[in-house]
């Protein structure tokens, strides 16, 4: 028989990646009881596990200039980055880097003896070694006295008198129920990836979905992550060689101009849309010096026993690249729960957001260099941990009434109590087929977005309320599916709402940026069971100089402009 457990804590943290670990450690510094609940294993879970290339630091002693960094992010982010947050993250970067290093994260030196990668001026990107950031952060959290509960899928936030007072979840391995009663709750459960190609399919945007259902405001779901990955039918894994060798061609062998593009913008999608696909990663063009660099990087960052280490770039070859590695994810640090202050409070009292599901928008409409995601997550984690702790110190221990608990339990168990309906695996497949194609999620058009939205609305209204689960493993799948369908609706609605193109949001029917009308962010929340969207203008003092020619303000040309 599954057991029912009540966990009382001061600060509950949902998701133990780098953001959750930073939040937990900071909240513990206030002498509070802190609990992390993680869907898999804190420190080894989610995006932090795969974020291994580097960490951005801003350090004037290394020759970095604040104005240069701010301007680069403004231009790349196409002027809808939240400048207040951009400055905070840059200025907090050195302290978080030092914290990570002191907890045991390895940072390796390049051949020139410096830790900073030179390929991404004006930013300082420090290379991470084998330890990456997650496991040492977990160790530090444990050392600080944080209670870690692994293997728990949190399903729904608990609310009492308008305040978030914890959450309810279960352990898929045992079916055991967990009721978390907390004075403050931090959501740091990462992104949604629609169970796509890249290996973070466990991330189904649960935190953002829970926050939305509880009434929080969400922002900027229209900017897709544009990472693509090479695939090979023989099953080769490309380790760290792929990000180092950026020679991509169309099917005819013409090299794609990826200069100055970290996430490849939409260059590949534009080529595919013109019928010039498939896109090829051409390792045959690398010199022996290039191959040596890839080998060195592999040695420093890939566990020797792993299959990634077995890939020898020296064998060369041409490999097909597949689009949508983490399709469903938003441009790093952009989409997510709307923070109302610089301590990551949300519109719901008692709820804080950190990491990739906190919509700081500090990078705006484009992700300019590796390591910014991890950095933003560490900074919002730190601030959410402090914000949540300060709030918890001011409020009484929550009392949760029977009605609220019964509501949450009904939602949690509904799929296993249903004898008939729809399998979550099948609904996920329909969802995948509806939203993943490039002409829906990358190259957008009103007609196609509306068509996809019709299907997604039907999934949401008709299939999701009838999802079934025959055991506690499938119960997790059912909740994952429900959250992914909700994310799809957010993405499609935000994409329809922004009637222009900007950064990685591209509308074939509106191929230009529209200033000043769209120097704005899209926000949404639930109102009477419907998703309501509206526009939040970017403060005028952050606008570009609109008297300059368009081509000068926006150096990047889009298809059809």
């Amino acid at each position: 028989m599954p057991s029912e457990n009540v966990v009382e804590t001061d600060v509950l943290i949902v998701g133990g990646g780098i953001a959750g670990c930073f939040a937990a450690i900071k909240a513990r510094e206030h002498g509070l009881a802190v609990t992390i609940a993680d869907k898999t294993s804190a420190g080894n879970s989610g995006g932090t596990l795969v974020a291994g290339y580097g960490y951005v630091v801003f350090n004037p002693e290394w020759g970095h200039n604040l104005d240069d960094c701010m301007n680069a992010i403004n231009t790349k982010g196409e002027y809808i980055n939240n400048r207040e947050w951009t400055e905070i993250v840059l200025k907090d970067s050195w302290a978080t880097y030092e914290a990570l290093e002191s907890w045991g994260t390895e940072f390796v030196e390049g051949e020139d003896g410096t830790k900073s990668v030179k390929a991404y001026p004006p930013f300082g990107v420090v290379r991470m070694g084998l330890t990456r950031a997650g496991p040492p952060s977990r160790k530090q959290a444990v050392k600080s006295g944080v209670e870690i509960m692994d293997g728990i899928t949190v399903v729904e936030l608990l609310k009492q008198d308008g305040r978030v007072v914890g959450a309810i979840g279960f352990a898929p391995t045992t079916g055991d129920l967990y009721v978390f009663k907390a004075k403050a709750t931090v959501i740091s459960s990462g992104v949604n990836t629609f169970r796509s190609l890249g290996n973070i399919s466990n991330l189904t945007g649960d935190g953002e979905a829970m926050a939305y259902r509880a009434g929080a405001e969400i922002t900027s779901k229209e900017f897709p992550d544009t990472n693509a990955l090479p695939v090979d039918p023989s099953g080769s894994l490309f380790g760290e060689a792929f990000p180092l060798w950026r020679y991509h061609t169309d099917a005819e062998g013409n090299r794609l101009d990826l200069s100055d593009e970290y996430e490849l913008a939409l260059t590949q999608e534009f080529a595919v849309h013109a019928g010039r696909g498939p896109i090829i990663w051409d390792l045959d063009t690398a010199t022996s010096e290039d191959i040596e660099k890839m080998r060195q990087r592999q040695e420093h960052s890939v566990p020797p026993k792993s299959k990634w280490a077995a890939f020898d770039p020296g064998k060369r070859g041409k490999f097909r690249i597949a689009g949508g590695a983490w399709v469903g994810m938003q441009n790093s640090q952009t989409g997510g729960i709307w923070p109302i202050n610089t301590k990551c409070a949300t519109t719901l009292p008692g709820l804080y957001a950190a990491g990739e599901c906190c919509g700081t928008r500090y990078l705006g409409a484009y992700h300019p260099a590796p390591g910014f995601g991890l950095l933003g997550s560490a900074v919002t984690g730190t601030r959410a941990g402090i914000g949540a702790a300060e709030y918890a110190l001011q409020v009484e221990k929550p009392v949760i009434d029977g009605e609220e608990l019964a509501r949450a339990k009904r939602i949690l168990y509904a799929p296993v109590e249903r004898n008939s309906g729809f399998s979550p695996r099948w609904v996920t497949q329909i969802l995948h087929n509806t939203v993943v194609p490039y002409f829906i999620i990358y190259i957008k058009h009103e007609e196609r977005l509306k068509a996809a939205l019709t299907i997604v609305r039907f999934l949401n209204d008709h299939l999701v309320p009838k999802l079934t689960a025959k055991d506690s493993h499938e119960l997790r799948l059912a909740h994952d599916t429900k959250n992914m369908v909700l994310h799809a609706e957010m993405i499609l609605r935000c994409s329809l709402f922004r009637t222009e193109s900007r950064g990685v949001h591209y509308r074939e029917d509106y191929p230009r940026r529209d200033d000043p009308a769209w120097l704005a962010w899209v926000k949404l929340r639930e109102e009477n069971g419907e998703m309501k969207l509206w526009k939040e203008p970017v403060p005028k003092e952050w606008w570009p100089d609109l008297s300059k020619p368009y081509e000068e303000i926006y150096p990047r040309r889009l298809l059809g402009e």
Binding site: G235, G323, V436
Partner: protein
Amino acid sequence: MAIERINPDLCNGCRLCINSCPMDVIRLDEESNKAVCKYPEDCMCCYICELECPEDAIYVSPVRHVPLLVSW
């Protein structure tokens, strides 16, 4: 395909693979006290179990059970 084999002769029942699997696909067979891949259709081929296993008892092949639709 996915987790193709968990060798029962090598598995020591330590549960490391179960606890580290992001997709919740491995269970401990109570009778034999050995890990088994119970939900292979949900394996995302991340190789974490293979890497974590102290006895090298697990082999994961890089092909998922349900072929994934890619964006292009």
